[in-house]
């Protein structure tokens, strides 16, 4: 669905990467690997049309992505390495806000299930700023389920998480893949998630 062709990006006359080719079909998981500063985040941002590439193009369903931006946005969930949950509100309120914003039809029992598997169910009424960093990170991943979109783009979803949670995430990715969804995520660490393609930056 997404096709990245010969993409190069320069920032202030400095080449970040050159001639990247990517193709993301349905049911595929792509892992971007590389060291810090190798341009993983930049590539993800370029796919989201936040950065103008110096050459090359990105296509969405065979058409230029730039021209069909909002259609593309309707099918994509992006999770940055920052935590977007509002720290002054409780976990429950945050989930409510997300459900409203993304007009999600997901049921409460489903969310409770996920909270239980992520071991967040005891914190539901606590404020987010009392949670640990790993826990807010997990909460962030809940957005994937709430938004319920075809394409997931994740920036460093695995950092600062314990093995158990990474297993849960791997399971979720597998589920999504079996539902014809596709995922791009970046990581600098090894994991046991089964990916269909690795791109090294």
């Amino acid at each position: 669905m997404i096709l990245v062709k010969d993409l190069s990006i320069e920032r202030s006359d400095k080449k970040i990467f050159e001639n990247i080719n990517l193709s993301l079909g349905s049911g595929k998981i792509i892992l971007l690997k590389g060291k810090n500063g190798s341009g993983k985040t930049t590539l993800l941002k370029a796919i989201l049309n936040l950065i103008e590439p110096s050459s090359g193009a990105i296509y969405w369903k065979g058409k230029l992505l730039k021209k069909h931006l909002y259609d593309f946005f309707n099918h994509v969930t992006f999770i940055a390495d920052k935590t977007s949950s509002l720290s002054k509100l409780s976990v429950h309120e945050n989930i409510n806000i997300w459900k409203k914003i993304f007009s999600s039809k997901i049921s409460n029992s489903q969310i409770e299930n996920i909270l239980q598997t992520l071991k967040l169910d005891t914190f539901v009424n606590q404020k987010v700023n009392s949670l640990s960093f790993g826990e807010t990170k997990k909460l962030e991943l809940l957005r994937l389920i709430i938004e319920n979109k075809k394409i997931w783009i994740l920036d460093e979803p695995l950092s600062n998480l314990d093995d158990e949670t990474i297993d849960v995430i791997g399971q979720t990715f597998e589920d999504h893949r079996s539902k014809e969804g596709s995922i791009i995520y970046s990581s600098h660490q090894e994991s046991e998630i089964n990916v269909s393609e690795e791109v090294i930056l």
Binding site: E93, I97, S103
Partner: protein, 223 residues
Amino acid sequence: MIILNKIISFYYREYKLNLSGFQDILTNIIFFFVSIFIFIFSIGPDKEKISVLGVGIVWTLLLLSSTLSLRKFYQDDFDNGNLLIMHLNGFSFGFIAILKTFSHFLFVQVPFLISIPIACVLLNISNDKLIYLFFSFVVGSFILSCLGSISSSMNLMNQRNFLLGSVIVMIFSVPIIIFSIGIINMEENFNSLISILFGILLIVFAINPWASGLCLKLSIENN
């Protein structure tokens, strides 16, 4: 219909956010009143003098206290990535700017509107002047919100000089002060003065989505 839903949920989020940070808004208003007290004490017990200076004092303090909250206009949402989420959720940056401006007006400026009558009692401003002050502030505060949006979006990536944003708002609000004070001092010209203020409002409102949107986009691109 979808877009309407999204706008409603945007304001639901803003409402929740501002409710949780209600003490911040309250602090702004307390700042406003404490400054009024200080003015009253520093001028002395001369009631005549206070009522002459009153309108100017109210306007200056309103301007100052509404620039206090500027730093939070976009900064929090920018830092935790919510601006980007809003954009990916289907709002263009210009549209985010418009929505945010209205939100700032609703949650920061409207509380001041409520506190103006009390300030007028403290400063011996007569009731007939209060109406004009109120009108000019409704229009003027919206201009301040638009200017605040422009200046705080410009200063998102400015890590060193926070005060610059306030200076930008204040320098562009000089005409607002001139015309607002004009309304209060020359009541017979009310119609033409309020339409000048309204004209400024239209200009700033039309520029706002372009300037703020571009700055937001820039900052998110380069963050």
